[in-house]
Symmetry: C3
Subunit: 399 residues, 3 copies
């Protein structure tokens, strides 16, 4: 499988702007796909590298400079993603101060269709105070929301294409959340799609590059706005159990699977769930069904890899972030100490490895949507869902 390197720090390689097509990979004949690579200029995006992968039907904007996140996508002309209040993204990490705003600086760059949260931690900010032997404060750290990985540039980016039909196209990126005396985990992500397909797969492999034991947390923040989100849109997934994160979320339990119209100032509602799955790996799915039911998106993943699912309902006004987040993860987005105490970190021995894979599909037509709903129903048939009326352990602090 021929591979073309776009950037590679180890070998001191970096390509200028390029647009790759089938011929670059030795494929004869007509092919409708392409992979373009360039650096953006101006505003807060100045210097951001962008990959535009177009499989002929599905186009993906991948951002190596932002940890190989998926900025946005388009399937047959219909946009996937959301309209973030961050007006001029994708934002270069140089303009994102994770430690600022009391640990909410991460929000300054948050505008992606899919952004990874982690790796040292994800979830809400928390404070850690380190004292000197004499009891005075040596260091005071606010660990910021959702971690660092989304603001670390990939040190390697390459593209490869299967020599055999259907000639799957893969963009690979490597991102190191690696420092001295702390986390030393490297992610290798492959984003793969087939020409003309309505789906792509994000497969991430994480390796502890240290000689000592380590650990990680990981949350995939998939974010959708119109036209998939709208008044009457529905969230459909096979629930084993679910709890509201806080009293505000509890208020919405009567209609937690449906979405309202944009509502300026809407206070977000977050639900924490375990999903039912199939087989030894717990294969499962979550569906966002657009209003009217003739369109939707599906995430497919495995409970064995991503056992904690968070649903973020944020139906604010159209200009301030009308969006829902579907978030399969290794943990819930509580502060890491809370999660660690409940065993929700991934241990990584020296050289240890962890893999997570998620498929993203676009559904077109009522039939395709109904088929996905039937899949969910088949899993739900394993047992009725437990819906907790209030915040409860172990999802979150009981309240």
């Amino acid at each position: 499988m021929p591979s073309i390197i776009l950037t590679d720090a180890a070998s001191d390689t970096s390509a200028g702007p390029r647009k790759l097509s089938a011929a670059d990979f030795g494929l004869a004949g007509d092919h409708a796909w392409s992979v373009a690579w360039r650096a953006l200029r101006g505003g807060r995006r100045d210097g951001v590298d962008l990959i535009e992968l177009d499989n002929g039907a599905f186009s993906l904007a991948i951002v190596p400079t932002r940890g190989m996140g998926l900025w946005r996508a388009r399937f047959r002309g219909v946009p996937l993603g959301w309209r973030s209040p961050v007006l001029d993204g994708p934002v270069h990490p140089a303009f994102v101060n994770l430690a600022d705003r009391g640990g909410l600086g991460w929000l300054d760059g948050f505008d992606e269709l899919m952004v990874r949260c982690g790796l040292t931690s994800n979830g809400a900010p928390y404070e850690v105070v380190t004292t000197n032997p004499d009891g005075s404060v040596a260091r005071r750290e606010t660990v910021g929301l959702h971690g660092r990985i989304a603001n670390i540039p990939a040190h390697h980016v390459s593209v490869r294409v299967d020599a055999e039909p259907p000639h799957a196209i893969t963009v690979e990126g490597r991102v190191a959340e690696s420092t001295v005396f702390l986390t030393q985990v490297e992610m290798t992500t492959t984003i793969t799609t087939e020409p003309g397909s309505n789906r792509f797969v994000v497969r991430d492999e994480f390796v502890n590059r240290s000689d000592s034991p380590g650990s990680m947390q990981l949350l995939y923040h998939w974010n959708l706005g119109p036209p998939y989100l709208g008044e009457g849109a529905e969230f459909v997934a096979p629930i084993e159990s679910l709890a509201p994160r806080d009293p505000r979320a509890a208020e919405g339990l009567g209609h937690w699977t449906t979405y309202g119209a944009p509502e300026p100032g809407f206070a977000e509602q977050v639900y924490l769930a375990r999903l039912r799955g199939d087989g030894p790996e717990g294969r499962t799915l979550a569906l966002l069904k657009a209003p009217g039911g003739t369109r939707g998106v599906v995430l497919r993943f495995r409970n064995a890899q991503l056992p904690c699912f968070t649903l973020w309902k944020c139906t604010r006004g159209p200009a301030e972030g009308y969006v829902t987040g579907l978030e399969p993860a290794t943990n819930y987005p509580n502060p890491r100490p809370f999660e660690e105490a409940r065993g929700r970190v991934v241990p990584l021995g020296p050289g240890g490895r962890f893999v997570a894979e998620t498929a993203f599909e676009v559904l077109e037509g009522a039939e395709a949507v109904a088929a996905a709903e039937a899949e969910v129903a088949a899993l739900q048939a394993q047992g009725a869902p437990t819906i907790h009326p209030k915040p409860v352990e172990p999802f979150t602090a009981a309240g």
Copy 2:
């Protein structure tokens, strides 16, 4: 009015280095003006975009990368601005950590003739502690000095020229202080001058891009050193009332309108004032009269837009910042909570708008200076100034 776009994130446009002249705007004949655009290289300025607007007599260095601030200017060869201890500016925001130095990181990039302070807040740093339901500290934020706007790059920059004489030249920039769940204000600034003129106008329009109510603060920090500042230079403005910010400023009240020679280690003195103005909008002006009185600069603005005026006297040694700041603003540079409690924030409804306009003029010759002084005197004739001997409310905490 033809317009040439230099950078525009929304349309994914960015020009390479250019030097625009009248012909680029379809004007025939000889014109002495130009607008140049390029990125700086090296040191802490690496990657900073710079616009050099030369109207034939007045040249302005505008910095899109630093929020459309005015780095420095030159009128008929005489420099306007100051010699900042920041030796190698204009400094790229990537090298300015606003949260650092206990919220004084902003100072690391402070070297402009005019820098905007705001928009979420301006003024002195303060700490905000957010607690968890159990009382523990969730987040601790030091809100930094003078806010973010000066360290946010413009996502749109364009130049236009009036088709009709005198063919006014306008540089337009748009800067978004916009994040998720917080401030979402976009500024559109136009910096306009006429060929050969001794003045330019900065007109800023701020729009709340959110669907929810918001607010802003704004302070224009105009900073001048030699030759306009020097021993014997005078500040002249129509004072309604004025108070020293603190005991240190109170010490200087006996000669607060005049400036001393450079004095190493001089501790800054800050005065907070209301100016008298003319007409329903309270049109007013402030003058810095150079030693000898044959040269000066004037700011013209409106109390209806910028009701709070701060004078910063910082006559330190020549190498460490011998400078004075003339600062028309929506508020005084106290911490925002103090100002908010006294009604000194600008409310912005959903889609709401606020405009502030300031004209900057260079005066050459004793006659021009005297004319400006006469203007001030005419306003001052409305009533004698009230000069408070000590810090008082509502300017600042009484002391």
Copy 3:
């Protein structure tokens, strides 16, 4: 001595990628040396300027963007430096948040053979709280580990070559740690070597650019891994007195001059020493003798300039940082307030100046190593070393 400017902010000069050789300096004939200059691309090194100085035997990678640090070197093909867990350096300062991680953010970019620590402070992080007149917290600052200088780009870089044999080659860089109301010190470093030589000299001159008195601290963090460091490697220096930094270091006192094999999770051991020196300036040296004793590196410096020597033993696993630090300095790496109280800051009057010079030599062959050991022995003959069994003043807090 002809000089070629590669970048100079003051004159708005910056060269594109270049490879300079003798002919560029007007030297005829064959010369094996070169100086290359370019910007790196990709990952966290994106935009980092690099100078590769190759004297024909010794090649040095100098990083103007990281304060003129020495990223790594190679002598006759043998690498000097270490394998840092920072996988994709040299890291652009835009990706290093010194205030983050409770003041340990500096570690995110730490991968050099030689990195300067300072100038406002170096050493361990500490917290400074500033209060308002009413006792409330105005600002809270965590002063970060090892200071700022390593993350400030040089605003001037040039290369010059002696017209006379042996045609010494010098790279000069100027770095300003300069802000408003605080430190205003500019460093001019010259890194000089002769064609074919096994040594180079780093001479740094620091000037207080302020009109007011200032001060500085400086520590040279020279870091070596294999093949100079390995099981059985030895540290050899003329000790006057030495103390462990803490109980952990005290544990290793029985064999503090020798190094163990890589040991995953090894907790660092730090020793603080005064060295014996020769003559009025206290000329001295420190040697790292590779396992087997047929290879080594020597640092030569002066107690008059750098009176405090720190030895850092960090024999962790090979992938997590197997490294030792030889650190001549103006102070020990305790928090600045501790050092200041013991007179270990360098006062700099207005315009005041401080110079420090260090020579780095590679030793090849047992004879060269033995000669350096003999030099150490001659100095040690001045008197027996005092080895304190526990942390003691004035090195560190007694424990």
